[in-house]
């Protein structure tokens, strides 16, 4: 669903907020991925 933004401030606040949430998920995901990748390493 496309949201209408009326100001650049609104747009930036929305996209930056979403980006920060995604970054947090990525950081946790990378940790999990690393543990998965190196599970059988000596």
């Amino acid at each position: 669903m496309e949201h209408t933004f009326y100001t650049l401030q609104e747009f930036m606040l929305h996209t930056e907020s979403v980006t920060y949430i995604i970054l947090a998920i990525i950081l946790l995901g990378v940790l999990g991925f690393w543990l998965f990748l190196t599970e059988y390493d000596d």
């Binding site: 996209t15 970054l23 990525i26 991925f33 990748l37 059988y40």
Partner: protein, 392 residues
């Protein structure tokens, strides 16, 4: 005498030689037409689509897939991972031939190739504010650097010890040059599209496109080394010495692991790119679905497959994934330069390559394979020259 002739004919008319010979003849005919009748005769290029598959495939994919040269040489010489030494020469050879093909393709593609041959854009009329100038300059210098990195192979073959020893001493300097130049032009190739925000589909266009191109070139380099090694194992197994064979499997495992990590990073920054431009709603359009095919099928899936392969030490899976990833990189470059380019135009106005353009691209790839085969068969690429053992 007649038996000897029959035997020679048998070895000459192998399936590879016959197919390659036919392609080369067709390629030479197209070459003649291109340089006597002009670009209009052999291509479907136009003012709205001045870049076709000679740029989208030969150049964009050629440069990305030749990234194995700087990836392996920097791992070996800059980061001190000497256990990958056996892979350096095949990677440098692939990179050198890849860049040479890129340059030759460019000669076919530009309107005034003589000016390119005379280095006109660098000497007479420099466009220093253009990214294309930077790409051109970097590719030209990097091709020279790759040539110098490659020279120890023919010099050992020719028995020119003194020059060969000088070139070996330059290895570290050349590797650093190679990494710097590659970082610059791999990213700038993507940055070229920053000038066309209205032409490239928003899902592929991004202010971070230069970063995407650079990171994906590392993936291409790692995958290409595995993929090329797999093919070489089938074609040149007899030419490989014990050291190469011993070092190859651990290299496949480690490169597969590294590729899975870089793919995970690439997937992450692609998602961040969608979020930063708020392009989520475009994902449910036809182009969006195609974008998802690329992102999930050729980034997320190989990332997962590489990880499973590295975790379970499954070399077969890693080798298959390397081929899959190489195809994915080719698809990405074609998406950016051709498929998602001029996306708003109706199909009747879109660029579709002519048969002769495709024929010439096939000719270029065939010429590269023939050159690789000749060098790998005759020169010390997969084995150490007996006179220079342990001196690299």
């Amino acid at each position: 005498m007649s038996e000897q002739l029959i035997s020679e004919n048998k070895t000459l008319f192998t399936p590879f030689n016959v197919i390659a010979g036919i392609i080369v003849i067709i390629g030479l005919v197209i070459t003649f037409l291109r340089f006597t009748k002009g670009l209009g005769t052999v291509t479907n290029l136009s003012d709205t689509s001045p870049w076709g598959i000679w740029i989208g495939f030969d150049l964009m994919c050629g440069v990305a897939l030749a990234a194995g040269g700087y990836t392996v040489s920097s791992a070996c010489y800059v980061f001190g991972m000497k256990k990958y030494h056996a892979a350096v020469r095949p990677a440098i050879l692939t990179a050198f031939l890849g860049y040479a093909t890129v340059l030759v393709s460019l000669v076919y593609d530009v309107g005034r190739p003589v000016r390119l041959a005379m280095a006109y854009p660098f000497v007479v009329q420099q466009g220093t504010t253009s990214l294309l100038f930077e790409v051109g300059l970097c590719v030209m210098i990097y091709l020279s650097v790759l040539f110098l990195e490659f020279t120890p192979i023919p010099l050992e073959w020719l028995g020119l010890k003194k020059i060969r020893n000088i070139m070996i001493k330059l290895t570290m300097v050349l590797t650093i040059f190679g990494v710097v130049l590659s970082t610059l032009h791999q990213s700038s190739l993507g940055a070229l599209f920053l000038i066309a925000p209205s032409k490239l589909h928003p899902l592929w266009y991004s202010p971070y496109i230069a970063v995407y191109f650079f990171v994906s070139s590392i993936i291409a380099g790692l995958s290409m080394v595995i993929f090329e090694g797999t093919l070489s194992h089938k074609a040149f197994h007899g030419k490989m010495d014990k050291t190469y064979l011993e070092e190859h499997d651990p290299l496949v495992l480690q490169f597969g692991k590294a590729a899975s990590l870089v793919l995970a990073g690439y997937f992450s920054i692609k998602i961040i790119g969608i979020a930063a431009d708020n392009n989520w709603h475009l994902l449910v359009t036809p182009y969006g679905l195609w974008f998802l095919v690329e992102l999930l099928g050729f980034v997320a899936l190989p990332c997962f497959l590489y990880a499973i392969g590295a975790r379970d030490k499954n070399l077969k899976l890693i080798r298959f994934t390397a081929g899959w990833t190489v195809f994915g990189i080719v698809l990405n470059r074609l998406n950016v330069s051709l498929i998602a380019f001029n996306w708003q135009k109706p199909l009747s106005e879109r660029y579709i390559p002519s048969l002769m353009e495709i024929g010439l691209s096939v000719f270029m790839v065939t010429a590269l394979i023939i050159a690789f085969k000749f060098i790998a068969t005759n020169m010390p690429v997969f084995h150490e020259h007996p006179d220079y053992k342990e001196t690299h």
